[in-house]
């Protein structure tokens, strides 16, 4: 028997009434409930590791960007020590925002209200008219810094958490690290963000896009059928459900809720269908079809930065789409272009909560730092055409989510449950090397259900 949750809302509804672990259902009510939202902010967004950007955005000492950790605004800055610091953008004097711009370079951040000043690492410097001690009569300046978050750089990606003593970043990644490394830690110079992220707000709860980021592969066949109609993926408009392109592969996930869909390029995209991969070595395969974002020149770097098994996987069945719990979507995809080429699209999205019924979709677009400038240009276009604000794939996602949200408000509708009953169950494919929960074959509900179990675990924790 599953142990009952200790989390009970004011009206007597328990977490088990919302996340039904015995029947693999989730009540639509989770999308609208304000009390639940407040708890999520404390138990998830003020606790777990959140993605805030990439260190290539702030290369110089004093460079800073301003980002959100849910509804908490933070300054992400490179200090004189060269390290990246994340501190709450709330002046400890009277609560004003210290940094009002989104990006810049400053050695001193001075609050415009009464002038308290802070270093890039959040340390308090002083208040104006020093002799009058406007920071307090007997107050130690060390106690007046901006609240600091714990920071971890992973492949240059900036992650932060308010949980100073909580799980390490590696513990957070768990078994997914082996696969994530293949995307984020594979080249000598690493990734580079091509420009500030696209940002837009959708009228829906963060979990509507969130649960999809738990590797909802199935929706591609219907919601994204324009990909098949446009001839990008295998199959034709008439044969979409027969051929089910992009559906067969190996989905991986872990109890932390992260997941990735690993797909063979030749079975996913029309333009690669005839590439002669049979009997080829790893290196030969990589030469024939480099992973998205990688050039032929970078192939030796893959062998240097990854294990042989990891490179083998990249060459045969690379991870392409997935997510990091709670709110990151990963799309490192082959993106065949209308002009015939393919240099891939590398994007990450965060779905930042902005209230129970608002979410900010932030779209970060990357390239490998050492890629030629023309390739970066192509990848930028691929990403913009397919993802984010105007992307032809994600336009349609952004169309669905607010409608689900509208439905969730109905007195009767909110009792409808989301179903996660198409389960495969963990199964290790023959010869598979990586760890984690593995789901070979047609993409099913397993990884998304694991996303909800990770949600349950954090919400249930005291």
């Amino acid at each position: 028997m599953l142990q009952k949750s200790k989390l009970v809302l004011r009206d007597g509804t328990s977490l088990d009434d919302l996340i039904m672990r015995d029947s693999n259902e989730v009540s639509l009510r989770v999308m609208t409930d304000e009390e639940l939202y407040k708890l999520e902010m404390e138990k998830i967004f003020a606790k777990t590791w959140l993605l805030l950007g990439h260190e290539s955005e702030i290369p110089e000492i004093g460079d800073f960007i301003v980002r959100d950790m849910a509804e908490d605004n933070v300054i992400v800055a490179r200090g004189p020590d060269g390290d990246v610091h994340v501190s709450l953008n709330v002046c400890p004097h009277r609560g004003m925002r210290v940094c009002l711009g989104e990006a810049g370079n400053k050695r001193v951040h001075q609050c415009i209200y009464h002038g308290w000043a802070f270093r890039p690492n959040g340390d308090f410097i002083g208040a104006p008219v020093e002799r009058e001690k406007m920071h307090g009569n007997d107050v130690d300046k060390k106690t007046l810094g901006l609240k600091k978050a714990r920071v971890h750089l992973y492949g240059g990606l900036i992650f932060a958490t308010w949980d100073v003593d909580g799980p390490s970043f590696d513990e957070f990644l768990g078994d997914s690290k082996y696969y994530m490394d293949q995307l984020f830690c594979r080249t000598d110079s690493g990734l580079e963000l091509l420009g500030p992220p696209q940002r837009f707000v959708l009228p829906c709860n963060w979990k509507v896009p969130g649960e999809q980021s738990g590797s909802d592969g199935f929706h591609t066949l219907t919601l994204h059928r324009s990909l098949m109609e446009g001839g990008v993926m295998g199959g034709t408009a008439e044969s979409i459900y027969d051929q089910a392109p992009g559906m067969y592969g190996v989905d991986i996930s872990c109890k932390q809720g992260h997941s990735l869909r690993c797909l063979e390029a030749e079975k996913t995209f029309k333009m690669f269908a005839d590439v002669p991969f049979e009997g080829k070595s790893t290196r030969e395969r990589l030469e024939l079809l480099t992973p998205p974002g990688i050039t032929k020149e970078m192939i030796p770097e893959l062998f240097k930065n990854l294990s042989e098994d990891q490179v083998n996987q990249l060459a045969t069945i690379p991870p392409q789409v997935g997510g990091l719990f709670p709110n990151v979507l990963i799309a490192f995809i082959f993106a065949p272009r209308t002009d015939g080429g393919s240099s891939g699209a590398l994007t990450l999205h965060t779905y930042m909560p902005k209230g129970p019924d608002r979410v900010e979709f932030t779209n970060y677009i990357f390239a490998e730092k050492d890629a030629p400038e023309q390739m970066k240009r192509d990848m930028l276009q691929n990403s913009i055409w397919n993802t984010g604000t105007s992307g032809v794939i994600e336009q349609d996602d952004a169309d669905v989510w607010p409608v689900i949200m509208k439905n969730a408000r109905g007195a009767v509708s909110k009792g409808v449950t989301l179903k996660y009953k198409a389960l495969h169950g963990h199964e290790r494919p023959e010869g598979w090397v990586g760890e984690g929960l593995l789901y070979p074959g047609f993409t099913k509900d397993d990884t998304q259900w694991n996303w909800w179990l990770a949600y349950y675990d954090l919400m249930d924790a005291v």
Partner: protein
């Protein structure tokens, strides 16, 4: 166009919004001004009436159609806020054809379609160096009604265009859409600006 990635934290002068650059003004009320204004109205009507093929017919094959990201900036960098390193749209003729082709099939974002009104105002025109090309700066106010929502989605922008006289018709050769929002309030840009 050569592409150079640039630091977001320390922007260079390419991030300044430049409105009308040409010094050779085409005066309001002149024949050319009136014809171009008419073209802008026709273009808005083609898009609002969802005659997408008519719109494509108004576009030159060498079009560059971009909508850079806006950032909020302070101090000495306060006017360096048009990030021409990242875009909401970054299109050429082929990609606009791809988008318009998709709209005729399963583009759920516009099926059912949104009902749009494009208000085009504050039109300023100047002559380009190339004869027959005109720099056209206009303001755009887009109201977009979707589904059964009584609240329109909306956005405002400045458009910096180049229109080219091709056999007596004006074709859009360049459009830079400077949106005013750093965070868009519209759920997607499935419509053209």
């Amino acid at each position: 166009m050569t592409w150079k990635t640039k630091s977001t934290a320390t922007p260079d002068a390419t991030t300044i919004l430049r409105g009308l650059v040409s010094k050779k003004r085409v005066p309001l009320g002149s024949e050319i001004y009136n014809r171009i204004l008419e073209t802008l109205y026709d273009e808005a009507a083609a898009l609002d009436e969802r005659r997408i093929d008519d719109w494509i017919a108004m576009i030159a094959q060498d079009i560059i159609y971009q909508a850079p990201i806006r950032l909020t900036r302070t101090g000495p960098n306060r006017d360096r806020d048009v990030m021409r390193t990242m875009f909401h749209f970054d299109e050429n003729y082929d990609s606009l054809m791809m988008r318009s082709g998709r709209l005729q099939k399963s583009a759920w974002a516009e099926d059912p379609p949104s009902r749009c009104r494009r208000f085009v105002t504050n039109v300023r025109i100047g002559e380009c160096e190339t004869p027959g090309e005109y720099e056209v700066v206009s303001y755009l106010f887009l109201e977009r009604s979707r589904g059964d929502s009584p609240d329109n989605e909306r956005t405002t922008a400045e458009r910096r265009d180049i229109w080219r006289d091709v056999d007596g018709e004006y074709k859009l050769a360049r459009r830079e859409i400077i949106v005013d929002q750093s965070v868009l309030g519209m759920s997607n840009f499935a419509v053209f600006l």
